[in-house]
Amino acid sequence: MSTAVSPAERSPGLVLSWIGATDHKRIAAHMAWACGLFLVIGGLVALTMRTELAQPGLQVLSRDHYNELYSLHGSTMIYFVMTPAALALGVYLVPLQIGAADLVAPRLNLFAMWMLLGGAAVAFSSLLTASGYPRDGWTEFLPMSNDTFSPGTGTDLWLAGVAASAISAMILAGTILATIVLRRAPGMSMLRIPVFTWTMVATCLNVLFAVPALLGALGLIFVARHTDIAVNPAAYLNLFWFYGHPVVYVMFFPFVGAALEVLATNARRRMAGYGPFVLAIIGFAATSMAVWGHHMFATGQVTNQYFAVTSIALMVFAGVEYLDAFLTMWGGAIVMRTSTLFALGFFAQFLVGGLTGLFLASPTLDYQANDTYFVVGHFHYTLFAGSMFGLFAGLYHWFPKATGRLLDERLGKLHFWLLVVGTNLTFFPFFILGNEGMVRRVADYPDQRGLADWNLVATVGSYVVAVALLVFLVNVVWSKTLGATAGADPWQGQTLEWWTASPPPRHNFESLPPIRSHAPLLDLREAESE
């Protein structure tokens, strides 16, 4: 472990310390609050869209405003909520899990945080321009985003904001990965790093080698808008999806790690199949880089058979993770805390997203489902019904570590069940709507084939989701000030972060236990009980 030496003691003002805090825990907390704010914005936008879609016809929004809102919703959730939230979890936990005093290059992390927050502000500022927010979704496909179809500065501000968030993500991924390599505590070999940290290795690899393609794609939009050079839309599609598919795993891997750690801790067992898991997560990350063509099946511009095979092959790696989760719980004394429920909810609901992904990995089925609500259902089952549940599992598990207070369990369980009901009421009808032929990204739809009924169900579900998130917000605010004191290790945790105080001191550890496996605290307890 490196020895941290603080510069001379200073007592900066509140604002200065908020702007300039380099502690990885504070950077992560600031990112988390920002992501929470953006989630509220993106969620309110989604609620407005669902209100419009509750019945056929235009009631609340014009078509133009609807197009702005779905672009705002998608861009906010992908670039400013889920990706940064996944990385923020890593920024907070990785140094604690590997026994380090901080991330490498603390100033660079602070720079990345400000690039994220500033980038979001720049992207949102396009709402204030005469041309408004871009109307082509989070994907901003060419030629729709060129200056002929999307004139004005709104799209340019969006480009600048998203580019800033991409730069931020690459820096954070680089420093997290470098921290794992350079700052592990003595005894912590690569095959002893905790499961969550391994998922961050996979996440960072995907970010580092996929996000540059996003910058390339944004560059193509810029060229198409500001020069006379003709840009091939297929080149944009390849670059965009070379980023766009791996980023789904950026928003998935950390939450698999969080859910597995929650299950192992709450089942009071060592995680089963650590070695196969490590191989699977690296294989998963690599293969996820080679499946982007399935987003382009209908274009005729890619080798469909190859991308169908690689896309279906992902199920092998996912299967290993599910098997590990199942075997970890098998025979364990499972404590049904809120975090356990969310971890189980993550695995159950992500399965729906994964299995419907198999449909879309088949070119013949994808031709039918392409651009319908079936795709929207699949996407939201992976990212909301799946990853968001994994995120909540992690939040309930590590909130006491970050704040020193426990989240309220009754409110937590209410939050969970409301979210299960709301999520499935909202997103399952999407599969039926897609099957009935309802196309996505439309403000209106024909009043036929039961489309209105299922849309109404989905809208009711979205309000239930909003209530669930409100319950969580109340829980956080209440528990942060009045919640029960957590102590260093409220769950009998297995990894190093539970060795130190809650919240951890500035440089994380006063001492470290011997590290002989990926679950050093469990090793200690087992040694004591023998």
């Binding site: 100033r107 470098a178 095959l191 990350a285 080798t303």
Partner: protein, 117 residues
């Protein structure tokens, strides 16, 4: 070289195999193949670089608690990015603010080095 290189090299090899599969299937060196192959080479290079760096255990580090320079630098870079939308004249302003932030970082790093002596 640390053992960390192993998983990263494994990852790079997998990307190379996937690129080879795409080449065999499509029969031509085209954009998608290049993307995958370039990623494989880049990740192998990263694994090599990280492996060379090795773990830095037991060294003394100075970790700053507060640093304003990164926020200033970020503001400068953001102004440069916004300049592409709001007017190229902002580029100079953005570069100036970035230089100010980087200068602050250099000043802090020098102070940090003095602290460690």
């Amino acid at each position: 070289m640390t053992r960390f290189g192993a998983p990263l090299f494994g990852w790079a090899v997998m990307l190379a195999l996937l690129a080879a599969g795409l080449l065999a299937w499509s029969g031509e060196i085209e954009g998608p193949w290049l993307l995958l192959a370039a990623s494989s080479v880049a990740s192998a290079a990263t694994g090599f670089a990280l492996g060379l760096a090795g773990p830095a255990q037991g060294d003394r580090r100075a970790i700053p608690d507060i640093s304003i320079a990164p926020a200033v630098t970020a503001a400068g870079v953001l102004v440069v990015l916004v300049a592409f939308a709001a007017g190229r004249w902002l580029v100079l302003l953005g570069l100036g603010v970035t230089a100010l932030g980087l200068g602050g970082t250099v000043r802090e790093l020098r102070a940090q080095r003095r602290e460690l002596r």
